[in-house]
C-alpha cells in the first residue's frame, strides 16, 4: 500500500465506524475539494452509495459555479442533499458585503449560526427532490448527533489537535484540553444524551495528498480551482467577497500538483486567500463557536 492507499483505507474505516455507531448522521459538504474527496471516500466506503445525508450551508454569497456544481453532482450521484441558511441575518442584511458587520461577525452569522441551527433542526432545511430537480422544505427536524466534516490537520494550528471522533457539548463547544483518548483504531463512539460528535475522516490528509488523490481517482471538482485563462485560480473556496484567487497559470490537475509540490505555492499557507483568518482571533475563535 502506498501513502494514499493508507490514507484512503483509514478514512473509509472511520466513515464505516460513524455509519455503524450513529443513528442520526450527516456529512458537511462545502463543495470545496476536501469535502468533495470526503464524499468520494463515502462512495468508496459504501460501495458506490452515499447512505448519509449531505448538508451544505448556503451563505448566498458563494461563487455561483459552486452551487451549480453542487446540484449537478447531487443529481448524478443520487445524493440526499440538504441545505440550510441564516434567513434572518440575510433578510436584515446583517452581513459584511452589506457593510453592516465585520468579516468575522459575518462568518459567525452566515456560517456558524446557520450551521448550528440547521444541524439542530431548529431552522428550516431544504432537501433536493430528485423528481422535481429542485429544493423543497425538508420534513426532517431531527437533530444530527453525528456530523462528518472534512477538516485537515495541516490546514491550521487548531485543526492539528482534532480527534477523528471529537465530542462537542450541546452548545457545540469544543473543549480542546479534555478530549477522549483514541487507542489504535478504537474511537469514542459512546455518548451521553445531549452531546454530539464531529467526525473527521480527513485529519491525516495534506493539501497535496488531496490533489494527488483527486488526480488518481479522477474525481470531478469545481472548475474554480483551475486557471481558466485569467492567470488566477482559487486555492481555497469560500464566499466571493472574502475569497481571493491566487496568481497561477495552473490549468490542469497535474499543473496544480506540480505547483504545490515544488512550485511557487509550496511554501505559502493554503488559506492565505481567506480574508477572515487575518482578523483578530481568526479561525480558532470561529472554530470554538462551531465553525468548521
Amino acid at each position: 500500500m502506498d501513502h494514499l492507499d493508507k490514507l484512503e483505507a483509514q478514512s473509509v474505516y472511520i466513515l464505516r465506524e460513524a455509519y455503524r455507531e450513529f443513528k442520526s448522521l450527516c456529512m458537511l459538504w462545502s463543495i470545496g475539494k476536501d469535502s468533495t474527496v470526503m464524499l468520494w471516500l463515502a462512495r468508496k466506503a459504501f460501495f458506490g452509495h452515499v447512505p448519509i445525508p449531505l448538508v451544505h450551508i448556503d451563505t448566498h454569497y458563494k461563487i455561483p459555479e459552486m452551487i451549480a456544481y453542487r446540484d449537478r453532482i447531487a443529481l448524478e450521484w443520487n445524493l440526499n442533499m440538504i441545505y440550510g441558511e441564516n434567513r434572518d441575518a440575510l433578510e436584515q442584511k446583517l452581513t459584511f458585503p452589506d457593510g453592516n458587520t465585520d468579516r468575522l461577525t459575518c462568518c459567525k452569522y452566515l456560517k456558524s449560526e446557520a450551521l448550528k441551527h440547521t444541524l439542530s433542526g431548529e431552522w428550516p432545511r431544504y432537501r433536493l427532490d430528485h423528481e422535481l430537480k429542485r429544493y423543497v422544505p425538508d420534513e426532517g427536524k431531527e437533530p444530527y448527533t453525528g456530523v462528518i466534516a472534512g477538516v485537515r490537520a495541516d490546514e491550521e494550528g487548531s485543526r492539528s489537535k482534532e480527534r477523528y471522533f471529537s465530542p462537542r457539548d450541546k452548545d457545540n463547544v469544543w473543549d480542546v484540553g479534555d478530549q477522549p483518548p483514541e487507542f489504535w483504531n478504537q474511537f469514542k463512539t459512546d455518548f451521553a444524551p445531549g452531546t454530539h460528535v464531529r467526525i473527521h475522516p480527513l485529519l491525516d490528509w495534506t493539501e497535496l495528498n488531496i490533489w494527488e488523490y483527486i488526480e488518481r481517482e479522477n474525481i470531478p471538482i469545481v472548475s474554480l480551482y483551475f486557471n481558466q485563462g485569467e492567470g488566477t485560480r482559487f486555492r481555497s473556496l469560500g464566499c466571493y467577497p472574502c475569497t481571493n484567487p491566487v496568481d497561477s497559470e495552473s490549468r490542469t490537475l497535474a499543473e496544480v500538483i506540480e505547483e504545490l509540490r515544488s512550485g511557487k505555492l509550496s511554501n505559502i499557507a493554503e488559506r492565505s486567500g481567506r480574508a477572515q483568518d487575518s482578523e483578530d482571533g481568526g479561525l480558532e475563535t470561529l472554530r470554538r463557536d462551531g465553525y468548521m
Binding site: M1, H3, D5, K6, E8, A9, Q10, V12, Y13, R16, E17, Y19, R20, R43, K44, A45, F46, F47, G48, H49, P51, N78, A153, D154, E156, G157, S158, S160, K161, R163, V176, G177, Q179, P180, P181, E182, F183, W184, N185, Q186, K188, D190, F191, A192, L203, D204, T206, E217, N267, I268, A269, E270, S272, E284
Partner: protein, 593 residues
C-alpha cells in the same frame, strides 16, 4: 510513516519537532511569520516550540496539552510527526498519539535526567505495541556537550528499558535548541558518530510484513443497499492481518458459521480477486448466512484465533473513576463489543517507581494492571503476542474510553461469573412449602419458559399472545410478558440503552426462574436472540426448562431451536404447531386442547 515524540514535560519535544520542520524547509512561510509576529506582539523571544503551540491557551500554559500532528517529508518518505504531551495530566492524549505510531522518539533532558514520565512513557509506548524506540538525550548544550553525561544517562535508561523488555534502536545526543545532531552532525559532539535524528527517522523499518500472517478480518458491518437497486449483501471491514482470495473458505467466529468468498468488492478500482492487510474492503459470500457486525472472519485453513469469555490481560487505566469489580463495563476488541467485568486483579505496576503490588483491590487512574476479565458472551481474539491488532482492546466506562489493554491468554475453562452467580443464587433460594411437582399436578401441565425469537417484524408477538390466549382458554396457567412492559418498570434504572442488552436479558432470565417456579407457562419474545443469549437464559432459568421457537430466518449457528417456523402463515396454524409440540413434549396433556 507515523512517528510519535514522547517524554517528560519540558524536556524539549516540541523544540525537536520545530527544529526538524525548520531545518528541512517543511514550514509554510505563513506559519513561521505568524508565530514570529505573535512573539513580537507578546515581547517574547522566538522559540522553535512555538511553531507547534498553535493554540492560544496552550501558549499561555506553555505546555502541549494535546497531541498535534505535523507533516514532514524527507527524500525517502512522508512523515506524520505526532507531538504527544509530556504532562502527566494529559496521559490519555499521549496514548492517543503513541497508539498510532510505528516508531517513537523518547526525549530526555540531559540536565534534568530521567523523570517519572520518561519511564511511564517508555512503558506505555512498549505496551501500545510501538516496537522501534530511539532515545534523544536533549539539551546537551546545558551540560557542555560532555560525553560522560550522555553515557551515564544512556546506561541508566537502558537498564530501565531492559526491565520492561524494550530494546531501543539507538540513543542520540542532541541539542534541539541549537540544532546539534538534528539534521546534520554536531561538530561540538565529535565523540558521537551515530546517526542524526533525521538519519534515524529514515532508518526506521516500515511496518512489519503482516501479509503472511493468518487472515483476520473483523466484520465492521453488513451492507445491503436494496433501495438503490443493489442486491449485493456486502460484508465490510478492514483486513487486520493476512490475505484472502475469492473462492477461499471462510469461518466466522464466535458464531462458527462457514461460507466461501464469492467476490471481493470495492468502488472505482480495477476488479479485485484478493484482499490483504490494511485494505478497507468488502466481500460477498457464496451462501446466505446470517452473521452480525463484530464477528471475526478467518480462514479455516489458518491457525485459529481463540474464542472465549474469560482471559488474562494487561490493562492501563485512565478513567476518572477507578476500575472496580462488580461493575459492568463495555469492551471493544476489533469490531466486537461485549459487556465485561473485572473478575480479578493479579498485580499492579506503579510506573513512577516501577514497584509491583498484588494487594490492590481496584485499578486507579494511570495504574497498569495484570487482570482477569470476563465478558458476558464469548468473543474471538488472538493473544497479542501472536496477532497484535486482534489482541488489543479498550474499555468504556460511562460513555468514555477509560482504559486499554492487550490480551495475554485465554482462560475459558473454569467457572464463569454467571455460573458462580447462579450457584450462589440457588444456594440461597428460599422455597415455600409447595413443591414444583405438586404445582404441575394441580395445574395439569408442566411449568415452562417459552421464548419466541427471530428478526424484528416476523410476527412472533402475535403468535406468542395467541398461544397465551389458547392455553388460557383451556384452563392453563400461561402468562405472556411483553418486553416493552418492563422497559419503564423492572428495567427503568437501565433504560433501553444498547449497552444494557445483556443486563436486560439477565433480568428476563431471573424473572423466568421465578415464574416457572410458580408453575406458569411463561411466554416472551426476544428479537434476534443468538446462541449465547439462549445459553444465558437457559442457565438463568435453571433448574427449570426453556423452550425456544424461532420464526423466519434461523439466526442460530449451533443451537437447535425446539421448533423452527421458516415462514409465518396463518396465526392459527402457527399456534397449532406450537401446541402440538407442547403435547409431544408432554408439557401439556393430549386431552387438554
Amino acid at each position: 510513516m507515523n512517528i510519535v515524540i514522547v517524554g517528560h514535560v519540558d524536556h524539549g519535544k516540541s523544540t525537536v519537532i520545530g527544529r526538524l520542520l525548520a531545518d528541512t524547509g517543511s514550514l509554510p512561510e505563513g506559519k513561521l511569520d505568524a508565530v514570529k509576529a505573535s512573539c513580537r506582539r507578546n515581547s517574547k523571544p522566538f522559540e522553535y516550540a512555538f511553531l507547534l503551540d498553535a493554540l492560544k491557551d496552550e501558549q499561555a500554559q506553555g505546555i502541549t496539552i494535546d497531541m498535534a500532528r505535523c507533516f514532514f517529508k524527507t527524500k525517502k518518505r512522508d512523515y506524520i510527526i505526532i507531538d504527544a504531551p509530556g504532562h502527566i495530566e494529559f496521559l490519555k492524549n499521549m496514548i492517543t498519539g503513541a497508539s498510532r505510531a510505528e516508531a517513537a522518539l523518547l526525549v530526555i533532558d540531559a540536565d534534568e535526567g530521567i523523570q517519572e514520565n520518561s519511564r511511564r512513557h517508555g512503558q506505555m509506548v512498549s505496551m501500545l505495541g510501538v516496537k522501534q524506540v530511539t532515545v534523544l538525550v536533549n539539551k546537551m548544550d546545558l551540560v557542555g556537550y560532555r560525553e560522560e553525561v550522555y553515557l551515564k544517562l544512556q546506561a541508566d535508561y537502558s537498564e530501565f528499558l531492559r526491565q520492561i523488555k524494550v530494546t531501543p534502536v539507538s540513543f542520540i545526543p542532541v541539542s534541539a535548541r541549537e540544532g546539534e545532531n538534528i539534521a546534520s552532525h554536531s561538530e561540538l559532539m565529535g565523540w558521537y558518530t551515530g546517526p542524526t535524528v533525521l538519519d534515524q527517522l529514515d532508518g526506521f523499518a516500515s511496518e512489519a510484513d503482516l501479509q503472511e500472517k493468518p487472515f483476520r478480518f473483523p466484520v465492521q458491518d453488513i451492507y445491503k443497499f436494496t433501495k438503490e437497486n443493489d442486491d449485493r449483501r456486502i460484508v465490510a471491514g478492514t483486513v487486520a492481518a493476512g490475505t484472502v482470495h475469492a473462492g477461499d473458505e471462510v469461518l466466522f467466529l464466535p458464531s462458527g458459521k462457514q461460507s466461501r468468498v464469492l467476490s471481493v468488492e470495492s468502488f472505482n478500482t480495477r476488479p479485485k480477486t484478493a484482499a490483504t492487510v490494511g485494505d478497507a474492503i468488502g466481500f460477498t459470500l457464496a451462501t446466505q448466512i446470517y452473521i452480525r457486525p463484530g464477528e471475526l472472519m478467518v480462514k479455516p485453513s489458518d491457525p485459529q484465533p481463540e474464542v472465549g469469555s474469560r482471559f488474562r490481560v494487561n490493562i492501563f487505566w485512565l478513567g476518572r473513576a477507578p476500575m472496580v469489580r462488580d461493575r459492568e463495563y463495555k469492551l471493544k476488541l476489533g469490531s466486537a463489543k461485549a459487556s465485561v467485568r473485572l473478575a480479578e486483579i493479579c498485580n499492579t505496576l506503579d510506573a513512577s517507581d516501577l514497584s509491583f503490588s498484588s494487594s490492590k483491590q481496584q485499578l486507579e487512574c494511570r495504574d497498569v494492571g495484570e487482570c482477569i476479565l470476563e465478558t458476558s458472551r464469548p468473543i474471538a481474539f488472538d493473544p497479542s503476542s501472536s496477532s497484535e491488532s486482534t489482541g488489543r482492546f479498550v474499555i468504556v466506562d460511562n460513555f468514555e474510553i477509560a482504559g486499554g489493554g492487550i490480551v495475554v491468554e485465554n482462560l475459558s475453562s473454569g467457572e464463569t461469573l454467571l455460573q458462580r452467580h447462579i450457584r450462589e443464587r440457588e444456594n440461597n433460594w428460599e422455597a415455600g412449602h409447595v413443591r414444583v411437582e405438586e404445582r404441575a399436578q394441580a395445574n395439569s401441565h408442566q411449568p415452562k419458559f417459552i421464548v419466541f425469537t427471530g428478526a424484528p417484524g416476523t410476527g412472533k408477538r402475535a403468535v406468542a399472545k395467541s398461544l397465551e390466549r389458547t392455553l388460557f382458554e383451556n384452563r392453563m396457567n400461561a402468562y405472556y410478558l411483553g418486553v416493552a412492559s418492563i422497559d419503564r418498570g423492572l428495567d427503568a434504572d437501565i433504560g433501553a440503552k444498547a449497552d444494557s442488552a445483556d443486563e436486560r436479558l439477565r433480568r428476563i432470565g431471573e424473572l423466568a426462574r421465578i415464574l416457572t417456579d410458580a408453575g406458569l407457562i411463561f411466554i416472551t419474545t426476544i428479537d434476534d436472540a443468538d446462541d449465547f443469549d439462549i445459553e444465558a437464559l437457559k442457565q438463568l432459568n435453571e433448574p427449570n426448562d426453556i423452550l425456544v421457537i424461532n420464526l423466519g430466518e434461523n439466526g442460530f449457528s449451533r443451537y437447535q431451536p425446539d421448533l423452527h417456523l421458516p415462514s409465518v402463515g396463518e396465526l392459527k396454524e402457527s399456534v397449532a404447531l406450537v401446541v402440538t409440540m407442547l403435547k409431544t413434549r408432554e408439557i401439556i396433556n393430549d386431552w387438554q386442547i
